[in-house]
């Protein structure tokens, strides 16, 4: 049972990580919070709701990525592009929050406020297999595989492609990058596209695993991913992955040991602990930004 719980925790952790990576990517490159992120995550499930009756699961994932990415680009255009200066960060956060409100309200109007069931998965994905006396779901393995594939792909793009180099340059300093001929706007758009696309995929994954979609997921699951990001270190992608997986497993253990709903607090307690002990992030590898203390 414990092993099963841990695998479950890893799957949750993988989803936290995917959402956190996207969030932290935007912080790393634009140094701003995108509060529409949790809602795009939530919307991924609804993309699945619409797409799954008409296409195989793989297609639904592609759609989710696409729709999420477009929402991201829209967010960049409406909430992030215009602001420079001291309050820009807060203003961008609030504007993206406003967009999130609108998106959630639209979902309420179209699909209602209550959770909806996804069409049943058929075929291989709904089966399970046994290994060493533990029952694993094929779906869980697939979700884990997809997550790691995506993370690897993202790492590859950032580390080895031209776009990745440009992203890193802008993350270092957008002014310098611009002087070097990097088209900063394109980079920002790409970053939003990737980040929101990943979040949307994560949302679809959660929906598949839970068999339902709900408009509240943004503010529950999505927000936790923000805490995961803080634990991993702002702007630190490796940290986001490690923190996500770690928190997922930790939460599963908490539930396993009978803490019930209090297990929900795990991630927030961990975040407070991080702020107290190592504000730069428990799993942070490098230094994002200058001195942070006052």
């Amino acid at each position: 049972m414990l092993a099963g719980q841990i695998v479950n925790g890893l799957v949750s952790g993988a989803m936290y990580a995917l959402v956190a990576i996207g969030f932290t990517l935007i912080i790393g490159v634009l140094d701003k919070l995108n509060f529409n992120h949790p809602e795009v995550f939530m919307f991924g499930g609804y993309v699945g709701l619409v797409a799954l009756p008409h296409m195989p699961v793989a297609g639904a994932f592609a759609m989710a990525f696409l729709v999420g990415g477009l929402l991201g680009v829209l967010t960049e255009w409406m909430a992030f592009r215009r602001f420079v200066g001291n309050d820009a960060r807060t203003t961008a956060a609030l504007s993206s929050l406003a967009l999130g409100l609108i998106l959630t309200d639209l979902v309420h109007k179209v699909w209602g406020t209550e959770p909806l069931r996804l069409p049943n998965l058929t075929g291989w994905l709904s089966e399970s297999f046994g290994l060493l006396g533990v029952n694993f779901l094929n779906l869980q393995m697939v979700l884990l595989a997809i997550t790691f594939a995506l993370m690897w792909a993202l790492h590859h793009v950032i580390a080895h492609t031209r776009m990745g180099r440009q992203i890193r340059a802008v993350a270092e300093s957008s002014a310098h990058a611009s002087l070097l001929g990097v088209h900063v706007l394109r980079v920002n758009q790409a970053v939003f596209f990737i980040s929101s696309g990943l979040a949307s995929i994560a949302g679809l994954m959660l929906a598949l695993r839970a068999d339902t979609v709900s408009p509240d997921l943004g503010l529950t699951f999505g927000l936790k991913a923000l805490a995961v990001m803080a634990i991993g270190g702002m702007g630190d992608m490796r940290g986001a992955v490690l923190a996500g997986l770690g928190i997922g497993v930790l939460e599963a253990l908490m539930f396993h040991f009978g803490l019930g709903r209090l297990g929900e607090l795990t991630v927030w307690a961990a975040m407070i602990a991080t702020l107290l002990l190592k504000p730069a992030g428990l799993f942070a590898s490098g230094h994002h930004g200058q001195e942070q203390r006052v």
Partner: protein, 251 residues
């Protein structure tokens, strides 16, 4: 006969990633003196001020200010100990008036929020005190003007007035003459002499060698985060290492 140290910095280092902003620098500032600090861009002059005042945390080394250790202290502790500074890129409170900028540096309010809240009675006194500093820097006629509408020279003087309002023992000026024309620079020399009488010691970072010559009692030259020369203004400026460091610089 040694004048007492106001500030003593020993083997101070600070690095960012692979770059050593400060690389084992040693420096003393004696009571009653203006120490000039020169060096090419990137030599670490501002990094030194930032580390002394707590904007940067030193990686290693010692800093002693009138018997107090500075390493590891927070910004506001260092400010309260009696070190005041100005900023290379001017950091005034743009949304406050000139007078308010100086008033907020009044340490009575800074130290006690409770009395600051009820301090209506104190306000008269605080205003008078702030006006005194503005007068010293020839800014009293601008008292109610928004700080963001000041000219460059006025803004720099306001920074000095604000730093002085905290009654610092040590005043650190970071390129106060940058961007000034000749007339303004002349006036600045006067203002700095006035400021000098208010503090125990001063550190003056400048690229304007005329200013350095007229104001400094001693000069230290830096490059690559360490001291490369020390002595009188003329001896340092003639020093071969210093000349080499400035090769290619316009000055």
């Amino acid at each position: 006969m040694q004048a007492s140290h106001v500030l003593s910095v020993a083997n101070l280092s600070k690095h960012f990633g692979g770059i050593h902003a400060l690389n084992g620098i040693d420096l003393q500032i004696h009571e009653g003196e203006i120490l000039g600090l020169i060096g090419p861009n990137g030599a670490g002059k501002t990094a030194l001020i930032n580390t002394i005042t707590g904007f940067y945390r030193a990686d290693s080394g010692q800093m002693d200010f009138m018997g107090h250790n500075l390493v590891g202290r927070s910004l506001h502790e260092i400010g309260r100990l009696g070190i005041g500074r100005t900023f290379q890129n001017i950091r005034l409170f743009k949304r406050m008036t000139v007078l308010e900028n100086v008033m907020v540096a009044n340490k009575t309010y800074a130290a006690h929020p409770w009395s600051a809240f009820w301090g209506f009675g104190q306000r008269r006194k605080a205003v008078d005190e702030a006006m005194h500093w503005l007068q010293t820097m020839h800014l009293s006629h601008q008292a109610d003007v928004s700080a963001q509408s000041l000219s460059y020279g006025e803004a720099r003087r306001l920074e000095i007035a604000r730093a002085l309002a905290g009654y610092p023992a040590l005043l650190l000026l970071d390129e106060p003459a940058a961007g000034m024309n000749e007339g303004e620079t002349e006036a600045l020399i006067q203002d700095i002499q006035t400021a000098r009488s208010q503090v125990k010691a001063m550190l003056l970072i400048e690229h304007d060698m005329g200013l350095i010559r007229s104001l400094s009692d001693r000069v230290v030259a830096m490059d690559y985060g360490r001291k490369i020369a020390e002595g009188s203004a003329s001896s340092v400026l003639a020093h071969p290492e210093v000349k080499k460091a400035y090769l290619g610089e316009d000055e």
